[in-house]
Symmetry: C2
Subunit: 272 residues, 2 copies
């Protein structure tokens, strides 16, 4: 069973998406084909609780109907399945409906870097824009559902709906800024500061989504956290233990409770 459901701090807020057909046969693990004109009638951005972070966020009601035409289909992605891989042809931007993803980047020398973790409402695949193929891989860390938004449709609607055009630019810029934040994290912060920042960020994003920000289950391994933070898994593990010892958090494997968020925040401000 999905470990999320064993954590009482997660509400079942996303029930609507439970109607998605989940028979194995309908699971499409490579980019969907796009029979022009077809689309899932179940998708209604106007009723989606995740709209604020998603592409439709902040759009005036009168434009929403147009934008809903973009959402071609939902797609179920099982744990460890790849939503897309680096090098796959770029067709869609995806919005996470439920679940949790990592994106990672490999280089020719065998290095592997986790470039982000994505939860409900967040967008995946924007790096594929313009070049024809995705530059990193998106992998589900738990069974997940996504909305697939074909770029060909986004382009067309964006030309006709300025609010969407503007919004698209905003989410692209947000991704650029996110990158800059990680550069600061990796370039200017100690291991301790990085992990504190990571936990605080995770906590905030969970809270925004109506989950508990103080008690949650990590969806990723120590190794994945380490890759993301530029640390070895042992260092991450030791820091979890140290934070626990110092009364900042409770940890037991993937279950984390933040006991003293102020204390974590103080770790980020050693200067002054």
């Amino acid at each position: 069973m999905d470990s999320r459901t064993s954590n009482s701090s997660y509400p079942t807020a996303l029930a609507p998406s439970a109607e998605i057909s989940s028979q194995p046969g309908t699971v499409i693990s490579r980019p969907v084909e796009l029979p022009a004109g077809a689309r899932s009638l179940e998708v209604l951005c106007a009723k989606c609780k995740l709209r604020e972070t998603c592409l439709s966020g902040g759009l005036p009601a009168e434009d929403l109907a147009r934008v809903e035409n973009i959402v071609f289909a939902r797609r179920r992605v099982k744990r460890n399945e790849h939503l897309f891989d680096a090098g796959d042809e770029f067709r869609c931007i995806y919005a996470v409906l439920t679940g949790f993803f990592k994106t990672s980047l490999g280089d020719s020398e065998g290095r592997d870097q986790v470039t982000g973790f994505f939860m409900d409402g967040e967008l995946l695949g924007m790096d594929g824009l313009g070049s024809g193929c995705y530059k990193d891989s998106a992998i589900a860390l738990e069974d997940s559902d996504v909305c697939a938004m074909p770029y060909s449709l986004i382009e067309g609607v964006a030309r006709q709906v300025p609010s969407l055009q503007h919004r698209l630019h905003a989410v692209l810029a947000r991704e650029i800024v996110r990158g800059h934040g990680i550069m600061m994290l990796l370039g200017s912060m100690s291991a301790e500061e990085r992990l504190a920042a990571f936990l605080i960020n995770l906590s905030k994003r969970l809270l925004q989504r109506g989950y508990s920000g103080s008690s949650f289950v990590l969806r990723m391994t120590r190794d994945e956290i380490g890759s993301y933070l530029g640390l070895k898994l042992e260092t991450v593990s030791r820091l979890f233990s140290a934070f626990h010892r110092d009364g900042l958090i409770e940890v037991q494997q993937k279950q984390v409770s933040i006991v003293d968020i102020k204390g974590l925040e103080r770790l980020l401000a050693p200067r002054n």
Copy 2:
């Protein structure tokens, strides 16, 4: 005198821009005001040698004229001047015509991180899109000229010229991908590998622009390189010396010659 001109490897290829008025009085160091309709008649993307990396890159000839309307004005930025600062109202995306910039990001705790170096043809300010203000600061590392492209105009033209819309998305995505590359650099590479990657990258970009890729003058200090690479300036300095000792490069202060590019590339591939 500008140190670039003392380096014979730099051609004077960008002569046309030398006509820009450079009396102190015309130097505008804050974002230009935008008297609607006005624009510099000297700007002709069609004739610009930097078009390939710039916003107008790859556009069909018939669309270029429309796009040229976007370029509102050139602006001269003196060494150490700020093209924009984090928090300034976002109005324009800038293309570097001549010169060299760094972008850097400060946080509330006084950390400071260089997020990029930008040379001719490269674009600055895209992180300001959507949020109304720039998120980082752009500082000229030598006297520079930029093209200012007001976002309000870009938006309008992009709606009417699909090729520009597509191109805009592509350059935004390119910036996202650049960020991912730096994450890999900072998260997965040793100090030695980072500096080697930095030099190789610089060399490639200079070569693309018709400069020498093997002999060049660094525009930034060791401290700025260090910030960008997540290293201390002493470490950067030691590595330069070590590369010199190993016969990979010649260094004397800011003057660098790459002697053995293959050797540098080998440093990036220690695995195998």
